[in-house]
């Protein structure tokens, strides 16, 4: 049975339009014109307990609005949402104890106090006994590699340390459902990797259900088998990441470094030549012809180095929408 059940979810905002200049200002003041902006349109999906699902889309696609409706911060304009058997918009205490929302650029920790003070407040608010709160804090701090940072004022922590402390605070009540909105935004590569490992470990240990949005594909590929792709408020894909990658990228990228420069016509019939610059060559090769083409390349050219990879998925998604293929 689905832990998150979303059917026909929509959210429409009323936005006042204003033209520039003095006349525009007067008109805006005297005769304000509103228009409806559909942030989310007829979105449906189900997520089973324990699943980790990635939520992809460009800026303004409707990811955060959807997450906020799922945790009860925003009332839907239409449709039905059930999370852990509750209607989120009622924000009943029992529901709030079972979920958490982490927003990469927002914080719940008290800025001037050490994270431990905020953790004490959270423990009291969620009714977690002191000894249990201490044990959980210690376990989560170990997983997140947090130590003396917990006794330093939040304002003195680095962005990565702060994000880890935010995660700790958000998970102290052991929620069953995690809504994570850009949890690694702005972190350096090491901190991103640490947060990813932590989330995977938390999911393994507690069986929590995770819905994650991120601008970093590495977050999605490392954590989520299944992805939802949203564009202009509509859901375009719900399925395995590999299927999406296949749809998005029917070709793979082959990088060649040759011993000596070659002419571009020499690559005819070996895929789509994207770039040739001295000894550096970049080809796009259909997935089903990859092995044959690679074998031919090695046979025909003096190859110093060869690398095959998927193009960055952000580019693929952008390209897909630009080409109007979804």
């Amino acid at each position: 049975m689905a832990l998150i059940d979303v059917r026909g979810l929509s959210k429409t905002y009323k936005v006042a339009d204003k033209q520039p200049g003095f006349a525009g200002t007067l008109r805006h003041f005297l005769q304000r014109r509103y228009r409806d902006v559909a942030a989310v349109q007829d979105v449906s999906f189900q997520i089973a307990p324990g699943e980790m699902v990635g939520f992809l889309g460009a800026n303004g696609a409707g990811k955060t609005t959807t997450l906020k409706m799922l945790c009860g911060l925003i009332y839907p304009s239409d449709g039905d949402v059930q999370v852990a058997g509750h209607r989120p918009q009622r924000r009943q205490a029992e529901f709030l104890r079972r979920i958490t929302l982490v927003m990469g650029q927002k914080q719940q920790l008290m800025w001037d106090l050490p994270p431990l003070d905020s953790l004490r407040v959270n423990a009291a608010v969620y009714g977690i006994p002191d000894d249990v709160a201490r044990r959980r804090t210690s376990e989560l701090a170990d997983l997140l590699e947090l130590g003396e940072e917990l006794t330093r004022p939040v304002r003195k922590l680095s962005l990565g340390q702060r994000m880890k402390a935010e995660l700790l605070a958000a998970l102290l009540h052991e929620p069953e459902v995690l809504f994570l909105d850009e949890p690694t935004l702005g972190l350096d590569v090491n901190a991103q990797s640490r947060v990813r490992q932590f989330l995977a470990e938390y999911n393994r240990r507690t069986g929590a259900t995770v819905l994650l949005t991120s601008h970093y594909m590495a977050d999605i590929t490392a954590l989520c088998q299944r992805v939802l792709l949203i564009h202009q408020g509509r859901l375009f894909h719900d399925g395995p990441l590999e299927v999406l990658a296949d749809q998005l990228a029917p070709e793979r990228e082959v990088h060649l470094e040759l011993e000596r420069p070659a002419q571009s016509d020499a690559f005819e019939g070996l895929g789509r030549l994207e770039r040739i610059e001295g000894c550096e060559v970049r080809l796009l090769v259909p997935r089903d012809q990859l092995t044959i083409v690679v074998a031919q390349l090695l046979e025909r050219f003096p190859v110093r180095d060869l690398d095959v990879k998927d193009p960055p998925i952000e580019e693929l998604i952008g390209g897909l929408f630009r080409q109007g293929r979804v």
């Binding site: 906020k68 104890r97 106090l113 003070d117 009291a124």
Partner: protein, 265 residues
């Protein structure tokens, strides 16, 4: 057991953390305490004027009234609308709304923490006042002090609820604090900060009794200064204002949260 979402542990931990938080701003709070010296300025204005005779208070009683007004004001200052407005605009309200505790309790705890931080500064200013005006020194009786403390606490409750009502309008208008400024002038005139209510013509006085303002400063200050007041009428009016404002705040808040779209988040 939780009452209004609170239990003893939450109260203890919230107050402790908010006090620690406010201590970080002790220098700023000391300046706020100093900036509340309007009653002393008014005292010097009234003391040097013949109009003082119309107040029905002799010199010492006037000193005590304005010192009491200063102290009551120190412990009933409310700034929830500004804190709430900032939190709503910056999206900091979202995490509070997702916890099983009404967000207003955090602001109550923050105010109480700030009052506790303010206490030594207010006491120091009172001590300096007594050094300058030794004839005004008095110690209220225990009963009188407890009644004044209760009246001050109720004054804080009225002011907090009144401002929370305005703060809840932030769900509709991002700059609801402008409304708070609108009520500042009647507050200053009718609360007793500028002059005891006895200084006003009977018509204005009668009108003022139907507003919450005299119960915010004049009534608790007179109690603390040991001056005659209608105890039953004063406390009944304070409780009536709390009983009127509380459900309004809760209703407006509930309607506001429905409208909330996590601005700036």
């Amino acid at each position: 057991m939780r009452i209004f979402g609170l239990n003893r542990r939450i109260i203890r931990v919230l107050l402790g953390s908010q006090y620690a938080h406010m201590l970080e701003y002790r220098a700023e709070i000391a300046l706020w305490a100093l900036s509340g010296v309007l009653p002393f300025i008014m005292l010097s204005v009234w003391s040097g004027s013949e109009a003082r005779l119309g107040l029905g208070l002799d010199g010492v009683a006037l000193d005590r009234y304005f010192l009491s007004a200063f102290l009551v004001r120190q412990f009933s200052v409310v700034w929830v609308v500004y804190a709430f407005e900032e939190d709503a605009l910056l999206g900091r309200l979202s995490p509070y709304l997702l916890q099983p505790l009404h967000p207003l309790w955090r602001y109550v705890a923050a105010h109480l923490g700030e009052q506790l931080t303010r206490l030594p500064f207010a006491a120091l200013i009172a001590a300096v006042f007594f050094v300058a005006q030794p004839q005004a020194f008095w110690l209220p009786s225990l009963g009188g002090f407890l009644l004044a403390w209760l009246a001050t606490w109720l004054a804080f409750a009225i002011a907090f609820l009144f401002q929370s009502l305005i703060a809840a309008l932030c769900f509709w208008s991002e700059k609801a604090s402008a409304l708070e400024r609108l009520q500042f002038i009647p507050f200053v005139f009718l609360s007793g900060l500028l002059a005891p209510l006895t200084a006003f013509p009977p018509g204005v006085r009668a009108l003022a009794q139907w507003t919450p303002f005299p119960y915010l400063i004049d009534f608790p200050a007179r109690l603390l200064a040991g001056q005659p007041v209608d105890l039953i009428a004063g406390f009944a009016a304070q409780l009536a204002w709390v009983a009127l404002l509380l459900p309004l705040v809760l209703l407006l808040w509930r309607a506001g949260v429905r409208r909330y779209s996590a601005m700036g988040a």
